[in-house]
């Protein structure tokens, strides 16, 4: 059913606009003066001020690869992350570890590991699916580049961002 909205009847003073105009001017000058004396909270001035210190523990930034305490690359090139990545940002080329390697029983390692940061949606599924705890989303959020190829993080870059992580998976260590 149609609702009829009763228009308010304005008196002469209200129809002359003046009270409304003066009221408006009063509101805006209040904001102006408050801002002038720095009493207004404003947006963070981003490149100078950063919110890094306020970032929560669970923040999902750029995905990175990590090495373990023996400086072994943890990734075993199982390609699970490549399969699960929704936007297909990850490309892995697996390789075989040579027999004389200390970690040869691991058998596989990623020869190439690229994450296209233009594609990545920071969903964290790669971190969740990884059986080796080799891939982690770190707190880097300002990933920039001038070309598309610059935005593809290769293995070197991923390790540089990821660094070393201790503990967690010990199954490849020598038996004590």
């Amino acid at each position: 059913m149609a609702t009829i909205v009763q228009r308010p009847k304005l008196n002469l003073l209200e129809r002359s606009y003046f009270p409304a105009i003066l009221g408006g001017l009063w509101i805006t000058i209040k904001h102006f003066i408050k801002m002038l004396f720095g009493q207004t909270k404003v947006t963070m001035q981003y490149p100078e001020q950063k919110w890094d210190s306020a970032m929560p523990e669970w923040y999902r930034g750029a995905p990175t690869l990590v090495k373990d305490e023996h400086n072994r690359e943890r990734c075993v090139a199982c390609q699970l992350c490549e399969f699960i990545c929704p936007p297909r940002a990850i490309t892995i080329k697996p390789g075989e570890l040579p027999g004389d390697n200390r970690w040869s029983k691991v058998e596989k390692y990623p020869e190439k590991f690229d994450i296209d940061m233009i594609r990545c949606i920071y969903c964290g599924l790669c971190e969740e699916v990884c059986p080796e705890q080799a891939i982690f989303l770190r707190k880097d959020y300002s990933i920039t580049g001038l070309t598309r190829s610059e935005m593809v993080h290769d293995k070197e870059k991923l390790y540089e961002l990821g660094g070393v992580m201790h503990g967690l998976v010990h199954k490849w260590n020598e038996k004590k």
Binding site: F32, M35, T40
Partner: protein
């Protein structure tokens, strides 16, 4: 030294002082134009709880320079199908009238005996109205020559806007001339020095007042009957003139020719680079000229109560010039403040306001002033 004598001959003295004043005023005003753009951005930001430009220079103070360089380096694009001649002269037509108005504004009393006005015309006010109304041609021509519908609508709006406020603009200042008895802007200011500002008539020369306080240097402060009576029509004039000035300078709430939300950019939609900049800066130059006219007619021009004029030494001459520009800056701030407060009037509302309200009130105001003057003289 014969060469110095040559410079002091009356005619030659007039020429080079006028040239000097012209250059200095042009420099000052163009700087003010650039910085009123900055002020506009800052004021709007502050009113909206933002920070505004703060990257180029301290508090963004070099921003106008950066903007200017950017506009100079942009491609000066001429769309196909435009009327090239009118398309290229329209921006200048928008800028020039605003600057010409400055010629007759007394921006100070005198400095070393040289009157601080470029052209002391006896028809000063008529010159102001005649020239500043030409500014509308820039807009109309731009709209028409652009061969595009949005600019065209902007141009049409501009002309209909002009016919609806121009009458009340002219009529609203008639009472000022009736009281001062002159069209010369310098003399109007001098009248306000003697009798108090038009909107604040709180001092006068000779006795007979309702309330008098004599100050140390012989001036009298207080109210006299005539001035308090004339204050009423003066306030009406002031309000109407101020509002008509908003329309004349195409400022919100009367920025119909531009109306970003409805007409893209209005009359300057098709313009780029320096041609666009001329329109943009012309608007601010018109605003400064308009503020100058308001200050001269109603706010006592360069005068401050009981501050001597330039004949008392160059220091006071400089104080007077500073006072004038401070008052202009205050009026400009008011323009900006209003812009970021009020919504735009609709087309028919503006015409209604101009024809039904302000025209009549301004006309009645003339009779009211005449009545009061007749009563005072009898």
């Amino acid at each position: 030294m014969p060469s110095l004598d040559l410079f002091l001959q009356p005619e030659i003295f007039l020429v080079w002082t006028a040239a000097l004043k012209t250059f200095v005023i042009l420099g000052v005003v163009l700087t003010m134009v650039a910085y009123s753009v900055w002020a506009e951005r800052k004021v709007s930001a502050f009113i909206q709880d933002r920070i505004g430009p703060n990257r180029v220079g301290w508090a963004g103070l070099i921003q106008p320079v950066a903007d200017g360089v950017k506009l100079l380096l942009k491609e000066n694009f001429v769309p196909g199908g435009v009327n090239k001649f009118f398309f290229s002269i329209a921006p200048s037509l928008a800028m020039i009238p605003a600057i010409l108005v400055l010629a007759v504004l007394p921006f100070g009393s005198s400095l070393f005996g040289v009157p601080m006005v470029i052209a002391n015309l006896d028809i000063g006010v008529l010159w102001v109205f005649a020239v500043s109304s030409l500014g509308v041609y820039g807009i109309v021509l731009a709209g028409w020559a652009s061969n595009s519908k949005y600019p065209f609508l902007g141009g049409i709006r501009s002309s209909s806007q002009m016919i609806s406020y121009e009458l009340s603009l002219g009529l609203s200042v008639v009472p000022v001339f009736m009281i001062t008895g002159t069209l010369n802007l310098g003399e109007i200011v001098q009248y306000q020095v003697d009798h108090g500002w038009m909107v604040f008539p709180a001092w006068f020369q000779s006795g007979g007042g309702l309330l008098e306080i004599t100050t140390d240097n012989g001036g009298m402060f207080g109210l006299d009957l005539g001035q308090s009576l004339l204050w009423i029509p003066m306030m009406i004039s002031f309000v109407i003139f101020m509002i008509a000035m908003f329309a004349e300078t195409n400022r919100v709430p009367f920025d119909l020719p531009e109306a970003e939300q409805e007409l893209v950019g209005g009359y300057h939609t098709e313009y780029s680079s320096m041609r666009f900049a001329l329109f943009f800066l012309g608007e601010y130059a018109a605003m400064i000229a308009g503020a100058g006219v308001i200050v001269t007619l109603f706010l006592g021009g360069w005068s401050l109560p009981f501050v001597p004029d330039g004949s008392q030494g160059w220091f006071w001459g400089l104080v007077n010039i500073g006072t004038f520009f401070a008052k202009v800056a205050a009026i400009i701030f008011f323009f900006l403040w209003v812009r970021w407060t009020l919504p735009r009037f609709r087309f028919d509302q503006l015409m209604k306001l101009g024809w039904y309200v302000f025209f009549e009130v301004a006309l009645l105001n003339i009779f009211l002033t005449a009545g009061i003057l007749a009563y005072l003289q009898s």
